[in-house]
Amino acid sequence: MNLNTTIAGINLQTPLVMASGTFGFGEDFARFDDFDDSAVGAISLKGTTLEPRLGNPPPRIAETPAGVLNAIGLQNPGVDAVVRHVLPRLEAGGLTTPLFANIAGETVEEYAEVARRFSTAPNIAALEVNISCPNVRHGGLAFGADPAEAARVVRAVRQATDLPVITKLSPNTGRLVEVAEACVDAGSDALSLINTLVGMVIDLRSRRPLLGNQTGGLSGPAIRPVAVAQVFRVYAALGHRLPIIGMGGVSDADGAFEIILAGGAAVGVGTALFFNHRAPREIADGLERHLADAGLSRLSDAVGAAHRQSRIGGGGP
């Protein structure tokens, strides 16, 4: 069975994208004696900014019912360290999996500059513009919640690079589809969604927010229904114009297939890697079975199929 998929002209051997922030800069999971690269379609690197970022005070992670709350705060060594040290190391290691640079900034100009510097690296396949990080004071969500602001960022990045541009969207807005449309009009070649939902855990012993940053971003199976709904909506509006990388709570082939049927041409896998580094292989195998069961010979036939199979007259009275 063929799990090939194409995102903005980039060929992925499977639709599985290791979600930004959960797979570091692509090297850490290689320590597992049984990590299976062949199940990985692409790697989205940790969110990277112009200058090195310290990140948020710990604790940075908490478990919630079927979910995980994190507030890393975009800790990263800065674009120059990544371009000069990390990317050459990956190239020297012979990694051929397409890499997406996930870029963030506090200003439009910063996004553009990070984009420009990543564009000089030989082994970056695309830029993923993160306008959806809920864990930073400036930038991030401030851009992702407003169509005009989002468009400004995407336009600036578009002008700064020849690489394909993927825009990563936030569910923490009632205007996700509008934001998506604005990003597409501004030149985005693909969309990825969803980033995490704003959440909080209060520590009952200290009676204060558990995370150092107070709020964090909710990911994991708990948010999968939200992800499926948003992918479905964005696909309905924009699926004919560009591909969607759908993500949020995918931990098995069932969840991945839901995302694909809703409209994901590719599927991000994040939090699941924390408890099952074999998830990519298991999901890839399961997807092949799902396609076979559905009598489909190609993954692309399944993308968005839930729209075509919809009940006639579905929708409230």
Binding site: G24, E27, F32, P58, P59, P77, H277
Partner: protein, 296 residues
């Protein structure tokens, strides 16, 4: 280690579906579990840990637990405390069940360099457990090992009264941990409340008594594990006496392999600038002098 470029670190990590060989309860709600995990038993070093999925998908994230002992290159033993959902579920597994775990993880204690002449192990409460394999590994390499443990509750290991006299404490302070004595460590215990044979006070007072006392120590290194306040105090004593000191820090973790930046500890990086290091790869053992103790 260069913290500025997110280097991967640590050796091969194995995922094992480990059969439970034994799961015994100890005083104070502690448990000792023995798991068949040869690849880890063969490679784990003192201070390293495994990341366990509690049975039946009770929790989403894995739980980090130190390797207490390795046995015959076959099994690992873990001492743990049933505090929350995950450790409670782990406490309930029976012989023959299989536990999904990954490891060995973390840097572990550095045993490669020149060993000190005197090793002083300082434990707060449960911090005793991860120091045991260190004591065992140091046996024969160092001239003498001391263990001081402070606790308000039952300790996870059996205690009794020592028959060995130590010059720097009152003779009626003689509570010890036989399992540590068996690997050559001299032990004394402390508690904030009055307990027979215990030093009444902070465990770090025992350390100070030793360092200021009559015993010849030579090149001395401290190794500590326990609550933040105790570690901070131990680090201060080390600094004051200009001694090396390693601390084992427990942080909440996501991936356990260095990818997610969840487990950060603030340390002094290049040029003394504070940066966050990952407890799961650059730690859990840190040079006490590198830790930014006021960050918590």
């Amino acid at each position: 280690m260069d913290l500025s470029t997110h280097q991967p670190a640590g050796g091969t990590v194995y995922r094992i579906s480990a059969p439970v060989i034994a799961n015994r309860s100890l005083p104070g709600g502690h448990r000792r579990i023995r798991l068949r995990a040869p690849a880890i038993a063969r490679t784990a070093r003192p201070g390293q840990f495994v990341n366990i999925s509690p049975p039946l998908a009770t929790t989403l994230l894995r739980r980090p637990l130190g390797v207490h002992r390795t046995i015959d290159g076959q099994d690992i033993e873990i001492l743990f405390q049933s505090v929350g959902k995950g450790t409670k579920a782990l406490g309930a597994v029976g012989e023959g069940d299989e536990i999904d775990l990954i490891g060995p993880l973390g840097n572990g204690f550095d045993l490669a360099g020149e060993p000190p002449e005197t090793a002083v192990l300082v434990a707060g409460g449960f911090g005793l457990a991860p120091l045991y394999p260190l004591a065992a590994a140091l046996e024969g390499k160092v001239d003498r090992t001391y263990l001081f443990a402070g606790t308000e509750e039952d300790l996870p290991m059996e205690t009794s009264d020592s028959s060995v006299h130590l010059s720097f404490v009152d003779p009626d302070i003689k509570a010890t941990v036989p399992e540590f004595e068996a690997v050559g460590a001299q032990c004394r215990l402390a508690s904030l409340r009055s307990r027979p044979s215990f030093h009444k006070g902070l465990v770090t007072e025992l350390v100070e008594k030793l360092l200021d006392g009559p015993e010849p120590l030579g090149r001395t290194k401290l190794y500590a594990c326990g609550p933040w306040g105790m570690l901070k105090k131990t680090a201060a004593i080390a600094a004051e006496h200009e001694l090396d000191c390693d601390v084992l820090l427990e942080e909440r973790m996501g991936c356990g392999v260095g990818a997610c930046m969840s487990c950060s500890v603030m340390v002094y990086g290049d040029g003394g600038r504070p940066v966050y290091a990952r407890a799961c790869v650059e730690g859990p053992v840190f040079d006490a002098a590198s830790v930014v103790w006021d960050a918590k």
